[in-house]
Every structure is written in C-alpha cells, then in structure tokens.
C-alpha cells in the first residue's frame, strides 16, 4: 500500500464528547474521542453497535439526532472549529467541504425526486453555476461514479435503481464540489458482496484521485482490511486503539481489538467429513414463479424466483445455501417447509412428499422441520412472554401446559439464557439473546431438520460468533440436519459441510465446502469468493 502524501491533518477531532439524554445506559455516547485525518488517507473507525462510531461521524457533520448533543471538544477543518459555527454558516460547509454517504441506499434518497435533481441540489446550494453548467456537471459526476448512461439515468427516480447504483448516486452527490473530507457511514453494509467490492474500489479510486481524507465507519474487519490506511477501534464511546491498518489488523495491542478480530469468521472451510448417513430431505425440480396480477390491459410480470432446484440433505449434515439478494435462497427455504406453495417439483421428507401431503399429515410432520429467521426483532411476537412463545409449538402438538413450560425453561437454559426469561417479553432482550430465543423456540419441537434463514446477519461479530457456536453445539447434541441460508461466505465456511451456490433462482454449483473454496468451478462462485472483503488479510491472520 503506498504511503499517503505527507501533509498536515485536514480534519482534527479533539476530546469530542456527545451526551445522551438522561436515563440512557451511559451519560456519553462518545466520550473523549480524538484523532487526526490527513488529506489523502482513509481512516476506518471500526466498532460494534453502540460503540459511538456513527454518532462521531454525525457530530462532525453536526447532524446528530435531536435527542443527543455535543457536550464538549473541538472539530477543526481548514483551521475552523466547526462546533463553534452558527448553524447557518455550518450549512455552507456541509456538501461543500464535507461530504457524507450513508448506510441505507434504499432510504437515503428522496423517493419522489429524480436522481439527477438530487445531485443538482448540491450544486444549486453552493456553486454559482447556471442551469446548463449544472446539468453538464451532473452528467459528468454520474459518469465519474460509473453509472451507466448518465444522460438518461439522471431522469430516473431512485426506485428504478439498484442498491449499488443508488449508492453511486450518493457518492456522486457527496463528491459534487470536491470536498476536503468524505465521511462514509457503513456505505457498503446493505449491499451484496460483489457490489460492495465495486463500491469500495470506487471510493478508493476517487479518494486517490482527489486526495480527499476519508473517514470510513464500519463494523466489518474484512472491509477495514480492504480499504483502510489507518484504523481506530471504538468501544463504549472511546477509541481504544488507533494505528496503521497493518499494525492493528495483524498485531492488535488492545484486548478488545484482539477479541473482535478473533470473532471474525475465518475464511477457512471446515474440513470435509464423509457422510454416508441416510437422506433426510430431498427436493427435486422445485420451482416457484411470482407473477403480478394481470388484467384486461396489463401484461403480467413474471419472475422465476426458484428454477428447477434439486438438493439433498443428509441426517446430521449442514447444507449452506449462499447467494446474493434476489437469488431465491430465502424463497427456497420457505418452499421446503411449504410456507409458500411451490409451482412444481417434489420435497420428500420422511417418505412423504411435503408438497402434496394432506393438511393433517403436514401438521404431524411440522415439528420435525423448524425454521430460525433472520430478524430477531420481527420474528418474535412483542406482546407475548418468551415462555409462551417457546411453549406454543409443543402445546399445539398436544403437550400439556406444565410439561411444555418446564421444557421451555430447560431449552432457554440450554441456549444460554436465564430460565427466568420465560416471564419476560422479547423487547427486554438484546438481538443476540432474541436469536437464542428463536433457536430455543425451534428446538422445542424436537426437530430433525432446522432451516435457518440468515440467522446471524443482523448481529454484531462477537454476538454472531456466539450464536454460530450455539448452533454448532445444538446441531451436534441433537444430531440435527440444517439448511443454512446466508449471503456471507465467511459464515458459510464456518458452519456448512456442503455448499450450494444460488444465482437467479438456480443452484449453479454444489459440493463439499472445502472443495468449493479450494477449487470453485462456476465463474459466479469464483466471483463471489473473490469479492469477500479482506480475503488476503484473513488468510494471513489465520496463519499464527
């Protein structure tokens, strides 16, 4: 990595403190943070949720949420303390000297405004250009961030654009006036890996070309390894370690940094184990097509979500299904348990074709196949006690109340929660704990097959590691077979015995995890593997 050009810091943050409203779990969300950002360098601020990294970024832009406020410190840009500026003057700095891009490209653009106009707004607010000059500049900017056909695309509304394209529009907006500092708050977190790779490359290229300082907020060490010149690690509102990327990543000094890095799933496939166990579930030629309702005048729009998929899961085996958004992997999971109706094919489980089984037979088999969902916030009924949630399944199968509740207590203990949790409500638990409740709920029915749809995607790395550990443990203990749906190849490498790669509704490649990682055959699999952020780093870090 080339050394950034020597220059004084373009942005200097000193002793920044951001106060939380009274009654929060700590008085200061950001407590005494200080760092320098040089022109032409990328400083990654990395930390888990609640570490204060995003509030630090928002404080620099002076765009903090209403409930929190800056309680002290200085933020110096071009020799001016931004915190001392009156609001009207601060507005002149935003968009001109300070650009910012956000995490959610889906919501960060005004849905009712053409993307070209949204870029144009920055120019109108700050640059005294006439309309023709602004139009030229908008097209130029859109071309610079590699958006296709800018002349046409600038007339499009955001909903017509893909997630990656929207993020490019955001970048074009932030770059419009060549800011000295670009603040990027988790800009690639909501994107697919292959798109993420392109956006990271774009940010890096533009940063090099314009010599900007980039403050890059992320939770993902893979991304850090990919892009950072320097790294600051935040915990509980303070920077615990700051230094050159190579040093922090490969020789972390602080215990917290070490634990974070240790929690990052290694990109090392688990060793192949010969599995001659009998088949537990077999799907053949499984298909699902979604179609919009047609009418007299309207053509039906048809999307093939799952196309003639064949798969086999053996007893005690974990099959990882990996793919990007829209690949049909979640639809596949739901088809297998007949949560949605398939258009064709068979799913054989325990000698029965689930797709044609009678309602009674299906209900009898339900308890043997259970699901764990992605969003631990949305998948538990907020109005019911945890004990009732866990005990519901067995009770529906005819178990009496005291037995079911006793079993619920047992299971909650098994997944590492206090059995007293039975009397509490889901909102009293953290995301990781809720996912544990979700697992206990699935286990309560003594399933033989678990279908887990992105069960750790919404969790911080350290929590993610614990939940993966728990899943591994219950899998061994109950000899569970598992279908593990994920977009994250690192996670798949950790949990799956075999991997099926999905793209556009089809399984393009399937094989033992080790083989897929060592010798991918399909070009798409290679592309996916290649896009995993921090690939080179994880190989090196795994060495000692």
């Amino acid at each position: 990595m080339p050394e950034p050009p020597a220059a004084g810091p373009v942005l200097a943050v000193r002793d920044l403190r951001v106060a939380l409203p009274p009654g929060a779990d700590r008085p200061f969300a950001v407590d005494g943070v200080g760092f320098d950002l040089d022109a032409g360098e990328i400083l990654c601020v990395v930390g888990e949720s609640g570490s204060g990294k995003s509030l630090t970024a928002a404080a620099i832009m002076r765009l903090l949420p209403r409930s929190v406020r800056v309680a002290g410190g200085t933020i110096t840009l071009d020799g001016t303390d931004l915190l001392a500026l009156p609001e009207a003057e601060m507005r002149g700095w935003r968009g001109r000297r300070l650009g910012m891009i956000f995490q959610e490209p889906m919501t960060a653009l005004n849905p009712l405004m053409r993307v070209g106009d949204q870029i144009d707004e920055v120019l109108r607010a700050h640059a005294g250009l006439d309309e023709a000059a602004r139009r030229r500049r908008v097209v130029e900017l859109m071309a610079q961030v590699n958006l296709p056909d800018p002349g046409q695309l600038r007339h499009a509304y955001p909903f017509r654009l893909s997630g990656g394209q929207r993020q490019r529009v955001m970048i074009a907006m932030a770059l419009a006036l060549g800011p000295a500092v670009l603040i990027a708050d988790e800009p690639t977190t909501a994107l697919d890996v292959t798109t993420q790779k392109q956006i990271l490359a774009l940010i890096k290229e533009i940063q090099r070309r314009h010599g900007m300082g980039v403050l890059f907020i992320t939770h993902d060490f893979g991304v850090v390894a990919e892009i950072a010149d320097r790294v600051a690690v935040m915990q509980h509102g303070s920077i615990v370690e700051i230094g050159r990327a190579a040093d922090v990543l490969n020789a972390p000094r602080h215990a917290y940094t070490r634990s974070l890095i240790a929690a990052v799933p290694r990109l090392e496939p688990r060793p192949a184990v010969a599995n001659a166990a009998p088949t537990i579930l077999e799907a053949t030629q499984l298909s699902k097509t979604y179609a919009s309702a047609g009418g007299f005048f309207v053509r039906r729009r048809v999307v093939a979500a799952v196309k003639r998929v064949d798969l086999v899961i053996r007893e005690g085996e974990t099959l990882g299904v990996v793919g990007e958004s829209g690949s049909g992997k979640s639809t596949l999971g739901r088809l297998l348990v007949r949560l949605i109706k398939a258009d064709g094919g068979t799913v054989t489980f325990g000698g029965t074709d689930l797709l044609t089984a009678s309602a009674g037979r299906l209900r009898a088999l339900r308890h043997e196949v259970q699901m764990v969902f992605q969003d631990p916030y949305a998948s538990l009924n907020p109005r019911r006690r945890v004990g009732a949630i866990v005990a519901d399944g067995p009770k529906a199968q005819g178990v009496d109340h005291p037995t079911a509740m006793a079993r619920a207590r047992e299971l909650l203990a098994l997944v590492g929660l206090d059995p007293a949790a039975v009397d509490r409500y889901p909102h009293e638990f953290s995301g990781g704990q809720r996912q544990r409740i979700g697992i206990a709920r699935a286990l309560a029915l003594d399933p033989r097959l678990l279908i887990a749809d992105e069960p750790v995607s919404a969790l911080d790395v350290s929590v993610q590691a614990q939940v993966l550990e728990l899943l591994n443990d219950v899998r061994r203990r109950f000899r569970l077979a598992m279908l593990f749906i994920t977009h994250d190849l690192r996670v798949a490498a950790q949990v799956a015995d075999r991997i099926a790669v999905m793209r556009l509704g089809e399984i393009v490649e399937t094989g033992p995890t080790e083989e897929i990682f060592r010798a991918p055959r399909h070009p798409y699999t290679r592309e996916l593997l290649d896009a995993v952020p921090g690939r080179a780093w994880s190989a090196a870090a795994a060495a000692p």
């Binding site: 005004n110 009712l112 909903f159 907006m173």
Partner: protein
C-alpha cells in the same frame, strides 16, 4: 400511454361498479314496505283494490321483478331517471338544477379545507412542542369533535344574527335580480358560512394528518441526506419533507371528497342551500323514490369519479405507483 391505459381501465371498472349500484338501488327501494302504487294511491286518497291494480299496470309494477329491473336499467342508460310526481318534473331536470350549487359548495369547502388544513399542519409541525403548535392542535381537535350542524348554527347566530355581516341562508338574495359580478358577489356572500361549516371538520382532519406525517418524514434518512448536502431549511421542508408527507393526505382527501357530498346534506339543510343534499332530504321525507334513486346514483357516480381522480393525482405525485399494477 401507460397513464391513458390506466385511466381507460379504471373507467371500465367504474362503469361496472356503477351498474352494480343501479341494480342495488333498484332492489333496495323494492325492499321498502309497500310498493309505489300504494304510496301514490294513499296520497290520492283512494285506496280501493281496482285503482291499485290500475296504477300497477300503468307503471309496469305488475311485471316480473327481472323485467322491471331491465326496464329500469335501460332507462338509466338513456339518462331517463323517471318522473317526480311530487314536484311534477322529470328527475333529470331536478338533478341538473341542483347539481351546480352542490358542486360549488362542496368544491369550495374541499379546496378550502385542503389548503388551510395542510398549511396549518405544516405550521404546527415546524414549531412542534411550542404554544402555537398546541393552539393549532387543540383547535383542530375542537372542530374535529364538534357536530357540523352546531358549528353552522353558531356561525349563523354570530355572523348573521348578531353581527349582520353575512346572509343566514339561501344562495341568492331573494327578490333582487342581479347579474354578472354583482351576482357572483352575492352568491359568494351566501357561500361563506355553509362552505366554512363544511370545511372546518375536514380542515381539522387534514391539519392533524399533515402534522403527524411531517413529523414522521422529517426524521427519515433522505432528509438527513438533504441536510448533509447543505441545503437551506426552507427548501428541505418544501422539496423533501412536505412532498413526501403529503402522500397520505392525498389518499385521505380522496376518500373525504366523496364524503363531502354526503356531509353536505346536513349543511345544505341548515343553510337552505338549493343543492343535491337538500333535494335528497326532501325526497326522503316525501317518499319520492325516483328522486331518491337519482340522487343515490348521482352521488355514487361522483364518488367513483373522485376516486379515479385521486388515483390519477396520486400517480402524478408518487412516481413509484405502478400504473395498472
């Protein structure tokens, strides 16, 4: 092109719904106790069976129900709404005479309530939590909770009786032939109280909705993006917050616009406004079935038209609406 197709499709659907309403209307009236012949005979003061039979034969009431329905639908399609024996005039003429005043009243009230309501909602959201916000919210709640006729009567008491500023009822000053601008001014003066009365309730609804919607939208990501671009607050409010916040108000306004015609029955009666609403009220009292059916049909057609208009407006405001989907 896509939009024309969409409108054509909706028109076809609207016509089908309208036909359904025609049939329903017909059956509904037949459900009322006693057939029109007994009503007419009763009014004529003669109740013997022979006279009744004669009446039934004359008006085709002795035909099978299906034939009667068919005849009715055929008449409606040719815009023959029947004859009002009460008023001794064709129903079509009555409707044509009463429709313009109603459209004037409800149209004025609708525009007034929407413009002022949204403006008040925006004003309240801008100063949320301060006394002016509380004032707007409390006023909105007051008018939301108060019955229309009471507001109307109080208005008459204050502005007509006590202050003598505005006429208390009717649409024209009686006995003074006017033309041109003088006529417009006269009608305008008569319009103020009923339009205000009708508008106040809906104004309150729009104000509350706009306020709530603004407060929700102003915390959304794209508003933060707009701030990060360094755009002035006023522009953010107008181009980003309000445009998005107005969407649910458009939906509700569409529903309410249909309701305004129904709501005008009370107001037209209170202010003796010569519109459809009062016509309906009188028709109910006099069991003038043909007029009643005509009013039903006309207001149904208006609701359908308003719905279509709402859909088109919505598709213009929100590009994400997939026409025809």
């Amino acid at each position: 092109m896509e939009r024309l197709e969409f409108i054509a499709q909706r028109l076809v659907k609207g016509v089908v719904v309208l036909l359904g309403i025609v049939v329903l209307n017909f059956l509904l009236i037949r459900l009322a106790p006693g057939d029109p012949a007994t009503v007419m005979a009763g009014e004529a003061g003669a109740g013997d069976e022979v006279f009744l039979q004669q009446l039934r034969a004359q008006f085709g009431l002795d035909q099978p129900l299906v034939d009667q329905l068919w005849a009715y639908v055929r008449n409606i399609v040719t815009l023959d709404f029947g004859f009002s024996y009460r008023q001794q005039r064709p129903v079509v003429d009555l409707l044509a005479e009463r429709l313009p005043p109603t459209l004037l009243l409800t149209g004025t009230a609708f525009l007034l309530s929407l413009v002022v309501g949204v403006a008040l909602g925006v004003a309240a959201a801008r100063v949320v939590g301060r006394w002016s916000d509380s004032l707007i919210t409390v006023l909105a709640l007051f008018f939301y909770a108060t019955p229309l006729f009471w507001v109307g009567l109080m208005g008459v008491l204050l502005f007509s009786v006590t202050l003598g500023w505005l006429p208390a009822f009717g649409m024209f000053t009686v006995g003074v032939p006017l033309a041109g601008w003088a006529l417009a001014l006269d009608v305008g003066e008569h319009l103020v109280l009923p339009a205000l009365t009708l508008a106040l309730f809906h104004m309150a609804v729009y104000a509350r909705m706009t306020r709530a919607s603004m407060l929700e939208v102003r915390d959304q990501d794209f508003v933060r993006t707009a701030r990060a671009k360094g755009i002035a607050e006023g522009e953010i409010l107008r181009r980003h917050v309000l445009r998005n916040a107005i969407l649910p108000v458009v939906t509700i306004a569409g529903v309410k616009a249909g309701y305004l015609i129904g709501g005008s029955i009370v107001v037209e009666t209170v202010f003796a406004w010569p519109g459809i609403g009062r016509l309906a009220y009188e028709a109910v009292l006099q069991r003038d079935y043909n007029v009643l059916l005509g009013v039903f049909l006309l207001s149904s057609a208006m609701v359908i038209a308003v719905n279509l208009a709402t859909d088109v407006v919505y598709s213009l405001v929100d590009p994400r609406i997939e026409l025809g989907a």
